[in-house]
Every structure is written in C-alpha cells, then in structure tokens.
C-alpha cells in the first residue's frame, strides 16, 4: 500500500493574495463545495482544517484549489499538538509547511492544546496546565512552527472541562505572555470563552476585558452542547454541532465593540447543516459587524441555477 502523504508534485499554483476581510466566513465542508462553486456563493472567506488536505492529490486538492482561486482562505491546524510536553512531529510540520506553500493562506492558526503523547494521537484538543514550565514549552513550539513555516501563526484559546491544581497563571495572562514571547497572533474563540467561563464559574465579560484583544486577528464562533457535571452544575461541551447560542452572540457583540471588525468564522463541524442554514449564521455575524449581507448582489450564475431547479 503506497503512502498517501502530501506530495511535492502538486502543480505550482499562482493565487492572488486575497487577505481575510473583516466579515463573516465559514468552515469549509465537503458536502457544500459543489453548491458553493456552482452558485458562486457569496462568502467572506473559508477556513479548512489542514489535516484534511494532507493527502497526495485527488478531489480534496482539486476542490481546495477552486475555493482558493475564488475566496480568501484561512488554514486551521488541529493536530500540531503545540501544547505537548514532547517534541513537535517533524513530518507533520513538513506537511503543514507544504500546504502553506501551495495554498498561500491569508491566516494560519493552531490551538493552545495537545493531542499527541508518546506517539499516540488522541484526536482531541487536550488541556494544558498554566504554569511557567508549560508556557516555556508552548512558546518553544510556537517559535519552532513559525520559524519552520516562515509565517506568523495565530493561537486559539481553548474550551476546557477541567482545571489543574498546578496552574498558577490565568488563561488570559498565559495567552498574552505566549504571544508576547513568541510573536504569534491570537485567534479569539468566543464560544470557547463562554464554555470555559461557564464550566469554571467566572465571568466571560471580565475574561474578555482582561484578554489581550489587540493581538486578535480572527474570531471563531460555534455552537456547544449543554450537560451537567457530578454536582449538577452546567458542563458545556464545545461540540460544533448546532447554531451559535444567544449568549455567545452577545459576547461576540461585546468583543467586536472593543476590537472593531475582525474576520469572524462560524464553525459547524458535526451534524453539518444545509448551506442555507450555515449562511444564515454567517449573516448574523455580518449583521453584528454592521454588514447587511442580503443587499450584496447575487451573481447572475446563481440566479440561473435557481431558475433551472424550479424548471425541472
């Protein structure tokens, strides 16, 4: 069986730079791609999980190329394990760098989390204690990744379900310090703020007030599940499987009032809805950004397709 690893043989693409606009984008899902391309759907930008495009070729790359030709792109890693105690995976770094070279994304981001330990990949974003030791380790990894790919990356604040007794930094100070030391930017996930604040009983607004918002270059929005812990207290799970809730929209409004408009991504990765439902979410974000997306003219090709559908 041959290895399906991102090859150096993809044709050299030449793309316009297309920076992320300060408006809503959505996570790219395979089930929407035909509709997006055939209707030339109106969307501020798309974000993809880097790990989904690390095969050597085939349809995923053909589709991503078509998307990148028409829309700004953000590349979001979910498997670098920046927060790991061990070394970064050099093969994974090489694959990631190759993707950056091929698709020239406008933004590149990863998580404050770990997912690999001792050669096992756990396929989840696992929590990092906030200590001087872990800070040094995370900064080393961010620096290694930025130096290797030759670009600044953004680091996303996590959703967490537990705390560590050894943590002696607040999360917002930890984020500020890792950005200061490594030179990275920040991806501010408003849903993660709400999830963690609820789970650990602190005020999300006070967290936002204390956060180094001047370093934020992109925002994430998503839906979460609601459960209860052993004491009957709310335990929110970052599920990415439903609409963004009202409390998170409120916090988003609160954040944007402080930061000004920023590229804002709606993530919906599980129980993926129809394109219409997803674009409704993007429209809500645009409304908060002061953009009325419904007045943007629909490309004529899209009307043609809609008519065709009615005719048949």
């Amino acid at each position: 069986m041959t290895d399906t690893v991102l090859s150096a043989n993809l044709p050299p693409f030449s793309f316009d730079p297309l920076p992320l606009p300060a408006r809503a984008g959505v996570g790219l899902k395979a089930s929407h791609i035909d509709e997006i391309l055939s209707r030339k759907a109106e969307m501020g930008f798309f974000e993809v999980h880097a790990e989904n495009y690390m095969g050597a070729g085939g349809l995923p790359h053909a589709q991503l190329r078509a998307i990148r030709e028409n829309y700004p792109l953000s590349l979001h890693g979910v498997g670098m394990s920046i927060g790991s105690a061990g070394k970064l995976n050099s093969s994974h770094l090489a694959r990631f760098k190759r993707l950056v070279e091929i698709y020239q994304p406008a933004m590149i981001s990863e998580h404050l989390a770990w997912s690999t330990h001792d050669d096992v990949f756990y396929n989840d974003l696992l929590p990092v204690p906030y200590t001087g030791e872990t800070l040094a380790q995370v900064v080393t990894h961010i620096d290694e990744m930025q130096t290797y790919i030759g670009k600044q990356i953004l680091i996303e604040n996590p959703s967490t379900y537990v705390t560590f007794e050894e943590s002696d930094w607040s999360e917002f100070d930890f984020m500020a310090e890792l950005a200061k030391r490594s030179g990275c930017g920040l991806l501010f996930d408003v849903n993660n703020v709400f999830v963690s604040a609820t789970n650990h009983k602190y005020s999300p607004r006070e967290y936002i007030d204390a956060y180094p918002l001047h370093l934020v270059r992109e925002i994430h929005l998503a839906g979460h599940a609601e459960e209860q812990d052993d004491d009957g207290d709310p335990l929110l799970i970052d599920a990415h499987d439903r609409e963004v809730c009202d409390s998170v929209w409120d916090l988003y409004r609160y954040t944007i009032a402080k930061t000004g408009s920023l590229p804002s991504l709606v993530e919906w990765d599980n129980d993926v809805p129809s394109w219409e439902v997803l674009t409704d979410e993007a429209r809500k974000a645009n409304a908060i950004l002061g953009i009325n997306s419904s007045v943007i003219p629909t490309p004529t090709s899209s009307l043609g397709h809609a008519d065709d559908r009615h005719a048949t």
Partner: protein, 269 residues
C-alpha cells in the same frame, strides 16, 4: 518574528519534566477507564467531578470510532452498527492512531480482524477492510494521467512488447477467495441477494480522474495486471499469464487495463 528570550532558553534547559509527567498520566487515563483520573485534575481542589474528565475520554474514543465508521462504511453495514462499534472500540484501545492524518488510521484493521477471536468464522471481513483502505488510498493518491489506447497505439509495434508500465498511484488490486466486490458494495447495496460467500472475486480499484471505481476483473486478467504492475514487460506479463491461465486473451486483457485506467501515461511514468 520574535525569538525566545535568553530567559526562556534558560527555562527550557530546566526542561519540561513535570509537564511531561502530567501529560503521561493524563494520556494513560484517556484510553483506559480503569485507570484513575490523574490527581490534581478536575473541577476544584478536592473535587474531581469525574464527569468532567470523562468528556475527554468520551471525545477521544467517540471521535476515533466515528473516524473508523466513516473509513469502513461497508464493514459497518455488514457487521451491523452495534457489532462494528464493539470491534472498532476494541481496535482503537489496542491500536490508537499515531498520526494526526486520520485518513491513515485503520491500516492495522485487516490484521486485527483476522486475529480477533469472536470473528474467527468470518475471515472475509479482513478482505473487506483491505478493500476499504485501498479505496481511501486511491481517493487521496497523487494525481497522474493514465495511459490511453492512442498512446499505446503510437508505440513502435516492434517495441510494444518490451514496454514496462508504471502503476497509476491510485491503482490497487485485491484477489480474494471471497466475493470482495459484492461485500465492498455493501456501503450502497445491502443485503446482496444471492451472495455466495465462497465465490472468489478480484477487485481492481482505480481513479482515472477524481472519481474512484471498484472494478471487477476475472482471475486471468487480475493475474495479468498484477504481473504487469510488478514491473515486468508487457510481453512477459502476457506469456506468464497464458502459462497460468490457458483461457487468457491478451487483447481483452490489454483492453481492460486501458479501460479501467491501471497504469500511468508513458509521458509521465
């Protein structure tokens, strides 16, 4: 881009030992519910609230089981959801992934199925798993042009039998003592009326452009394609196949090979 400060370098030399221990105990408890939740992890001091750590345990196992279900839809249909979950959970706990590229996860699944005692009476399942893995590999394989009839015709007739063809990156062949093609198609059609589990089938997976195909070929053509793919010349592959299969027709074999797109264009090979 700012470099880590000298202070930071000093920090690292102090190493991440405590943190490595923390990762170690956390990781161990993720895949084994019999291992205690690590000390100092939970809701508050002296309150672990185990449901909280369980979110991570659940995320890990469920996301990996979902990945297995999406990679092996035919096996899931054949085995039924409950059975598949039980088997895939067992597989995950014994063979967790090592790479963040989930498309590579499950490579050890055919071998695991063969050695899994409760399934000892269903050895055909391992071949279905192999077919499904080949399908994923074909889907992600490097793009390459296939050899066309025109290209082959343009070769000097005196030299055509000396041609050594390069398998297309998406080409996979699986000769099975079981009806591996009917079983592979369980993802779209199941149950299969008149399925004969003793019927041998040869599956050839190709991806001439972006769409994958599961082709059925007869045994002699399967033999011919395997020999060609092993790197011997067209002439040798024809004569060796004819020795093994008296009924082999070279014209049909070459036509099949071209039609289903098994080999790379001579220009790029």
């Amino acid at each position: 881009m700012m470099k880590p400060s000298e202070n930071l370098k000093a920090d690292i030399e102090d190493n991440a030992f405590q943190y490595a221990l923390r990762n170690e105990t956390f990781a161990a408890a993720l895949l084994d519910p019999d291992i205690d939740i690590p000390a100092g992890v939970g809701k508050a001091k002296n309150n672990q609230a185990p449901k909280r750590f369980s979110v991570y345990r659940n995320n890990v196992v469920v996301s990996l089981m979902d990945a297995m279900a999406s990679s092996f839809p035919s096996l899931l249909t054949i085995m039924g959801e409950e059975n598949f979950k039980r088997v895939s959970r067992n597989f995950i706990l014994n063979h967790p992934p090592s790479s963040p590229m989930m498309q590579q996860f499950g490579r050890a699944f055919p071998e695991f199925l063969l050695g899994f005692k409760p399934l000892a009476k269903s050895p055909f399942l391992a071949d279905v798993a192999k077919a499904e893995l080949s399908w994923i590999n074909a889907y992600h394989a490097q793009d390459a042009a296939i050899i066309t009839p025109e290209e082959l015709q343009s070769v000097n007739p005196e030299k055509v039998m000396d041609l050594v063809l390069t398998p297309h990156p998406a080409f996979h062949i699986l000769t099975s003592p079981y009806p591996v093609i009917d079983l592979f198609h369980a993802r779209t059609e199941w149950p299969k009326p008149g399925l004969d589990i003793g019927q041998a089938q040869t599956l050839v997976i190709t991806r001439p452009y972006f769409e994958c195909f599961a082709n059925e070929v007869d045994e002699s053509i399967g033999c011919f394609l395997s020999l060609l793919a092993s790197g011997i010349s067209l002439g040798e592959a024809i004569s060796k196949t004819s020795e093994i299969h008296a009924d082999f027709d070279a014209t049909t074999g070459i036509a099949s090979m071209l039609q289903i797109g098994c080999f790379k264009s001579l220009e790029t090979a």
